[in-house]
Assembly symmetry: C3
Homo-oligomer: 425 residues x 3
């Protein structure tokens, strides 16, 4: 498995004494331990222990990133990927983070939400000189808080974040959690102007993005969140995009329990099914898992699509038979799509792959147990199953719903009458 | 009244045992009862009681919708309209909802925020097969919660929601409300890319919308919220648009008392005058009504406008007399507008109706007791009057403000001196 | 200092008995007193006391406004500026506000969030006739609340707000603050479509703005927030733009303590480092100041930029040497920028000033103690120093960080090894 191999190689290179990346095998799931966070499609950065200081090493560099099979781009990230590896530490830790710059321009890192000396805050020009290409800088501070935080550049910030430089910085409480957390997931939201047929995200775009990602992946390449029924689950969601995304979970009421301002006291928890995670914010949500396959996604419907034009002619409701015939006389198999809606897009994915622009995902994709999901972008599935081993994150396949708990076709069933008549409008 | 006629016909067709749609006449206003919610410009779906199950029937279909007189479009909705009728039920109810698909493509319904078996959750492909054109499906589940929820497709979701498929699903508490609610209003926010001169909303648009609606209507076609002074009012606001809208009420501090995550305990209520209702969220707001005519609107100023170009030349402050003369030699009555601001738009509405594109509302409109309101889109008025009968929702006309409580012209009044001198800049 | 001169002249013209504008000198900082709020780059409107009524006078007029040196525009504002002066009063006050209209079209003022008679609410057409050019109207009401509120037109609202008409209306509690506030800052957020080379913001733009401002200024023209270490600071942030902005403070966890719905009880305060301030909302944030130079900004990275094109060709990663040579043969000194990121923009600010469009700020700018800040727009610095006199708001220069508290270059330091090897991707 690629992530594990990468993690082990990194670990070997740094003689990690701490935790390793997310394991795929069933292992006991430690409370409070570094390594207990499951970064979707990601990994936790190992550290060296040096005279009581946990030393991490981030390398800012260009990376060849895959959003999903069929869509790659040159991005900028850390330690080989975007987002960078998750840093996990414990309240009270003294941490030192070395940052090596292998980019073609200067950078810096801001430790978003972390209380530290002004000179360690990472705004280049204001708090420190920028880290020039080839240089390594050391940041060092003591962690006096816990919660879900982030790291990202604060030098040419618009460009560097637009092309993928970001990571999670999670601090575990010294005194343990008020409620036992059985599974602890984390991801960062982002958006990318990767124009169809191109291989480099455009950092100058402010509004009209093509790809909307969880940890720089789009559905169906985003890992499912695998959970045992009845477990208490935390999902830590951070946002370094250009949009305040409303995150919606199906089948559960969750509690919002904290933010980049730290974990909130229990009286401040708020029950929701949809929570806006603003740009530059994190939100921790917690819930007790109910068996099933439950969608977890941004509720902006265009953000659960992949690349598409937003200024194409509107053929909804148009009569296109003649136009289709003309098209097919020129290009066999070519067709208009959208006169009856756009679900035909997914049915014709294979044709689109041949005819569409290079390096461009279909607008919607994903196959489930009952057919096409017609989704993309910021969408994944929380897969809750009874009887999983603790710490088993392997994809269990699709949910086998108990008898009589699935919406069913009753068109022919004489028990149900005709639809109600209505006023013709 | 169209809505009542439609409701009665639907009711006749389904032998409704439950509540009928919003009555226009003054009737006692029941607590907790199905039918107690006043859906702005809408109605509550009747049901049949069958062996202890409340059976509703939704028909997904194309509808001919009017946003306001002068702007119609072919949309998709339920049971003849967009939004679909409001489903009201009570915590503990067993409900069955039949869904007939009369659209040209497959659909499904997701019951947003409702706790139910995974197979009833409505994500086509994931939780169930899609409902093909011509088919009827049955969803069935027991309501284990209360609050303000929604229904919408989860199949070709971007298209189907963009053209109007959505509705409210309101569950009343089994044990009654913690505070008596005298009037209980509800609406859904949406946006539409109905290009000037066209008759079909464009589902591919992500950002640049023309119409911003409450229950698929724009001001001044949105019903006022008619209330007796001193009553406790709840307004349930849901959002299935592509924008996180800040909803602002004049003249009152309201409490935010719940969301699609359910009703919040009282200690969680928050006093506001402007509340962001995110996409995929609902918010319940409550207040005690103060006499007057009070604006209720989205605070994005472009969202209280109707169709307008956002890339027109900027003539503010320009000298246009010569250009106007040239224009009028070509087209009598034609004129530039906007060199002194845009309020001239409303003054020239009649000319614009003749000269503007077909099927396109003026940018701003609405006449009040004191002249032009210069509004459109997501704007309506809460009309609070003393002495209304309980349940009387008839428009009481404009507020007659008591003497000396209206801003007044004092230009000639010698009591007030000249404006303050200022530094010439 | 311009602001003081302007304030004094205004004060002289109105025989102010109340507070004067923000003083620059070190003076004792009064609790609860009108004049205690420090409006960034702004001032507090003096009043006359007349028979127990505090009488203010606002003049709506065109103003010649500077966003930062190098960028001016004809805007609309009040009393010579945008935003207008801050109105400060005390709960229980009877206030009368005279509004003189010197604009070329009608206007009105809505007192956002303030509880008042319907006829004083300011929606022209609905609550009152519009104030025609040349007229003066009087609004009068008693303040029955306290908190951070706003004023703005409700007549041709889209245009009038787009070009700068807005102000803060702050009401101090009659009974004192629950916690002593040592410094109390305030600003309003806004956005402007001031196209490069033009001098008039375009009010028809809905999404694609050029300038993002705090009190109509962009970095580095926004005043720093100067604070003594250990003081309790309140920042009142209002938003009358077209975007829900996430405001981020470095180095502190702040509490969100109130909104335009009033000050919240202490149990409702929420610890954050990033707070969305929605359009039409205000948020009060409070924190105890930690020594240092701390960035305070919107976290949308494009909103900390000045004017830039969002549809320029993407040359990131492109080989541009040949193209540069061609360019320079035509225009000496001309160069492509952006193939290695965009920080070169700031390095070449002087060239851009010569070659760029008139009246257009560089995309990023600002020099700090450690070099270029590469920022613009909604960005300023909270400068916290030990030992300042109470009420001393003079810029103390850059922070002198204690030894060993600044991120440092360690490239040559043998104590630290090579960066970790990684999986080549």
């Amino acid at each position: 498995m690629t992530l594990s191999r990468r993690s082990l190689i990194v670990a070997a290179g740094t003689t990690a004494l701490g935790a390793v990346a997310n394991a795929q095998a069933a292992v006991p799931y430690p409370q409070k331990a570094v390594g207990s966070v499951r970064t979707l499609n990601g990994w936790t950065l190992p550290y060296k222990m040096k005279n009581g200081v946990k030393e991490f090493h981030l390398v800012a560099e260009e990376v060849d990133h895959e959003f999903a099979p069929g869509s790659r781009a040159k991005c900028w990230g850390y330690n080989g990927g975007t987002p960078g590896p998750t840093i996990e530490a414990v309240e009270g830790d003294r941490v030192r983070i070395l940052v090596t710059n292998r980019l073609p321009e200067a950078t810096s890192i801001h430790w978003h939400g972390i209380l530290l000396p002004s000179g360690m805050d990472g705004v280049s020009g204001l708090n420190q000189p920028a880290i020039d290409p080839g240089q390594t800088f050391a940041y060092e501070f003591t962690l006096r808080q816990h919660g879900t935080h982030m790291y990202h550049p604060h030098a040419d910030e618009m460009v560097q974040m637009a092309v993928g430089m970001m990571g999670l910085f999670i601090i575990h409480p010294a005194g343990g959690e008020p409620e036992r957390i059985d599974r602890d997931f984390a991801f960062l939201m982002h958006n990318w102007a990767l124009r169809p047929g191109t291989f480099r995200p455009d950092p100058s775009v402010m509004l009209d993005f093509d790809l909307w990602t969880f940890n720089s992946k789009v559905f169906p390449a985003i890992e499912p969140l695998v959970v045992r029924a009845g477990e208490r689950v935390r999902v830590r969601v951070g946002n370094l995009s250009m949009w305040n995304h409303p995150i919606h979970l199906h089948g559960h009421q969750f509690e919002v329990t904290g933010s980049d301002g730290g974990r909130w006291p229990r009286r401040r928890w708020r029950r929701e099914v949809t929570e806006i995670v603003g740009v530059g914010q994190t939100r921790d949500i917690e819930f007790v898992a109910v068996p099933g396959d439950w969608a977890l996604h941004c509720h902006m419907s265009h953000h659960t699509m992949n690349a598409m034009g937003h200024e194409i002619p509107n053929v909804l409701g148009a009569s296109i038979a003649e136009s289709d015939a003309d098209l097919q006389s020129l290009v066999p198999g070519m067709m208009n799509m959208g006169s009856d809606g756009m679900s035909a897009h997914q049915e014709h994915v294979e044709i689109m792959k041949l005819q569409g622009p290079d390096n461009t995902l279909p607008m919607m994709t994903g196959e489930g147990p009952h057919g096409a999901l017609e989704m993309g972008g910021m969408f994944t599935v929380v897969k809750v199953r009874p009887g999983l081993d603790a710490g088993d994150f392997r994809d269990p396949g699709w949910y086998a719903a108990p008898a009589n708990t699935v919406a069913r076709m009753i068109s022919e069933d004489p028990e149900f009458g005709a639809p109600p008549r209505r006023l013709k409008s």
